[in-house]
Symmetry: C2
Subunit: 552 residues, 2 copies
């Protein structure tokens, strides 16, 4: 790709080229060419991936890296659009990751409906900036409507509530972000500000900062409680917000990988007695990243209510389960949350990158309002007044259109398929001699690990601690290598993580992790993935010395 190429003489940057690039092609021929390019993007790309690759081409990372070391921006154009698209289809795509493959069941990224590419293209063609009404107009109003629809899905307040807030310029039911991370940061940002309000000689933490706030409130420590399954964005939020990431307290989980309520109550009571410590927020998880487990939201909500703690629910993954008629009850209690994160690019099947965060109290976002003379004027509909980010694309238009095309039932069917196919996968794993199911699926995520049949008997028997350590190390090595070899072969993909398998374990075991959200992932495909893993296991002894520069 970086081999020296002869630059054709027509690739010169001049004003007429620029006009060709910007011009709205009025003649039929130019239009047809641009449409043909789009056709290649829609189908050339897809056909190529279907014919030539499974998940990704088997090529070492080091080899790839060697091809991308040209650090100069060339003065004259290097390629025409047609060639750029051709190169992306033929050279980039096979070495990227075909997340749309039904054999890709390892991460929270998957196939998206075809129409999503159309919707993303239309958002780009309109190129509205939702920071302000002056660069978005009707889309700001439409965004407020979508926010109200989602709020209603979560909180289901009376219709009058929505009538009075849907187009109210003084209140905000939620906001769009770039993803779950900025959504979680925003929720904890609001929670931090709410618990360190202004006093007689202090203007509030947003204005005066954390050190002044802690002094004014006579505190030494602000903490956030979340189970050890909490997403790492919460720790990051602690760091960025000046709370300190060690103050995002990882609470133990029980045997169902839900937060251990006894431990949680103990911690809340302990911190409540300590007058120098304040709990800024408690986070319940509706679909943990690693196991898909859902915390006991109603009990957590009651605990927060009793102790007046901000209750945030991270439903980045699980939120859309609310659209399933069969499984929405799994999220019961979410309507008690003070704030809720939901991702669009996860189970709303939108392209990267879009997330959302909602607040029960339509005035909560006043905590983070910013104005400026040129934008976000007071009393305006400018949606950028209360967002972490500034300029933003019209993700709300994509979600709004997708809801119209799919209906809640369409989304519900996708959710149901994922949950039920994952249950089927769990059965298949249990039926195999060399595998051990680690976490039973609640949603569409499960973990398991390869445990060769002759070692299975030791799993639950009482063996000496040194033999246990040896067994743990051996299994970790097997599973790490198994996952790497399968990934680099490029036919299918499961991910891996480290978990304490039972409460109280000191060792975090390497486990394989599967996320099933692709509607084309079938039982037959899951069998093939397990077959491939068994075949790899048979040959794993040759892998004692993995190649350097492996992906990790």
């Amino acid at each position: 790709m970086t081999a020296p190429e002869k630059i054709p003489s027509d690739l010169v940057a001049d004003w007429s080229t620029l006009h060709r690039v910007f011009i709205r092609p009025e003649d039929e021929k130019s239009r047809q060419t641009l449409v043909k390019y789009m056709e290649q993007i829609l189908f050339g790309l897809h056909d190529f991936l279907n014919t030539h690759v499974g998940v990704t081409e088997a090529i070492p990372l080091a080899t790839l890296a060697e091809s991308y070391t040209d650090t100069l921006i060339h003065p004259d154009p290097e390629k025409k659009l047609a060639d750029v698209i051709k190169d992306i289809i033929n050279q980039i795509a096979p070495r990227a990751v075909n997340v749309a493959s039904p054999y890709f069941i390892g991460h929270m990224t998957s196939a998206i409906p075809f129409f999503m590419v159309h919707l993303k293209a239309i958002a780009a063609a309109l190129n509205q900036n939702l920071i302000k009404l002056e660069t978005s107009k009707v889309l700001s109003v439409l965004e407020k409507q979508v926010l109200a629809k989602m709020h209603r899905m979560i909180y289901n307040k009376p219709p009058e509530f929505y009538d009075s807030h849907v187009q109210n310029v003084d209140t905000s039911l939620g906001l769009f972000t770039n993803g779950g991370t900025t959504a979680n940061i925003t929720a904890l940002w609001v929670a931090r500000n709410l618990c360190l309000p202004p006093t007689a000689h202090f203007s509030g933490v947003e204005k005066d900062g954390m050190a002044a706030a802690m002094k004014a409130h006579d505190l030494e420590r602000l903490v956030v409680l979340v189970s050890e399954r909490g997403h790492f964005s919460l720790k990051k939020a602690g760091g960025i917000l000046g709370i300190g990431n060690r103050n995002i307290i990882a609470v133990d989980v029980d045997e169902n990988h839900q937060v251990d309520m006894t431990e949680l109550v103990r911690l809340v009571e302990k911190f409540s007695r300590d007058k120098k410590t304040k709990i800024a927020a408690m986070v319940g998880i509706a679909g943990t990243t690693e196991t898909g487990s859902i915390d006991p939201l109603p009990r957590m909500a009651a605990l927060c209510k009793k102790h007046r703690i901000h209750f945030h629910v991270d439903a980045a993954w699980g939120g859309p389960v609310l659209l399933s008629e069969k499984y929405s009850n799994l999220l019961a209690g979410i309507q008690e949350a003070d704030s809720v994160t939901i991702d669009c690019h996860k189970q709303f099947y939108m392209p990267m990158s879009a997330g959302m965060v909602y607040f029960k109290d339509p005035k909560a976002l006043d905590q983070i309002a910013y104005h400026a003379g040129y934008v976000n004027r007071k009393g305006s509909v400018d949606l950028g007044i209360k967002t972490l980010e500034g300029s933003r694309e019209a993700s709300s238009l994509i979600l709004d259109s997708a809801l119209k095309i799919m209906g809640s039932r369409g989304y519900g069917l996708m959710i149901d398929h994922g949950i039920e196919t994952t249950r089927l996968f769990a059965k298949k794993i249990k039926a195999r001699a060399h595998f051990h199911l680690v976490t039973d699926p609640v949603l569409n995520i499960l973990t398991y690990r390869a445990v060769p049949a002759h070692l299975q008997q030791h799993l639950n028997t009482d063996i000496s601690s040194s033999r246990r350590q040896h067994l743990d190390a051996c299994l970790d090595k097997i599973n790490t290598n198994l996952q790497r070899v399968q990934r680099e072969a490029g036919k299918s993909f499961v991910s891996r993580t480290c978990l304490k398998i039972r409460p109280g374990d000191s060792h975090k075991a390497v486990v394989l992790r599967s996320v099933i959200m692709n509607p084309y992932t079938t039982g037959k495909i899951l069998d093939q993935i397990l077959d491939e893993q068994e075949a790899i296991l048979d040959n794993l002894d040759i892998l004692d010395h993995p190649a350097p520069n492996i992906w990790r």
Copy 2:
């Protein structure tokens, strides 16, 4: 749009519909339909806007808002993709803002090259997630190459520097963000952490938080210095980072709207004497949002070096000027910055939303590294280790492709056109009897205001303070209403902001603000915009009582 519609009976969410939506259409007819939709997006949208609207349809906000009050997600699909696209083209687009119009010269959003829609569509079709190698592979490697190209554009270190860092998994030259706001927050986040390092009994601000950090370093106040022209994202960064937004000190500007160096030196020396205050960063602006002015970067860099202060340059707007052979010297000194923000969706003409931030020291981003068992493993190429955001789309692929299609000269020509057309506009404003140029353009931004000819004589004469106040109020009202009326008529658009016109003014005057980046904006169009404004001025007396629910 919300009038009750009869739902056609084929709009039912069932499994076969879902398959039709997700399915890769193998038959020629379905493919042709999807291509036709894309053609409508590319050309139907554009033709409609060109034929039916200038900048936006003249419709009151209240009327628009009334149409968007349906807060229920419908169980069954409401519309087919074809109808969604038709509605967007016919009903949404005309009531959105046609930012691609050459008559839209008010904000930092403009026409984008046609190929950008193709590139955005290809990024969506690939749907890679740059948080980790396992969902992006070659794109992570490609992103590192683009980051090196941009770093080299800014810092121009020796080739060996780039050879050793371009694909180094242990170092980072910069990162992609959702926009300038998250880029600025990231830069100040790193600066905050660098100036509050671990001590014997303190683990660093990221881990222990701001209150502990200030105590450990025996400080009472952390401040950031930036001219009063600084973007409001810097104040927001102060709030979110726990520094306190009142500690983002707005330094006076001189008559060129650059930071007043005398005042800046005075403040640095004052804070340096105060052992309880530390300067976390100084921010120089390369293209202020309001006036396009560029701070004296070399002098600021020298001051920072002398006092060991982190020097951040906010070049969100001005960064791409580095690609202009004629004008890159305007940004001299930027290579001394410790960190630099540049937006992709501004003068790199990319669609919403993408920004970047670069660091001189390839280890600086270690300050904000986060790992997790399932992603961002230590020593991996996972780019999400050192980003504020989590999941991210492949904006780097779009920028990389655009650089190949345009070449640096192509971008340079766009920059030159913007600067030179803005200079022409300044001349035209000066030549008109009823206008007064407020800030001469350095880049492609200028401000001016309507000052009816009979009031011009009072601008620079000595009048009593009460008469001055009356004049100010009168001119503010004229310009506010002028901007509103022109905006709501929908034929053309300039923005407005409030500025102290001369250093030392107590009054912030309402001024009109023009940003010229559309290559189709010509002198003739600028004449028409001024003609329209003069016509509005003639009739302004009828506007003493603007309608309620105006946009503000």
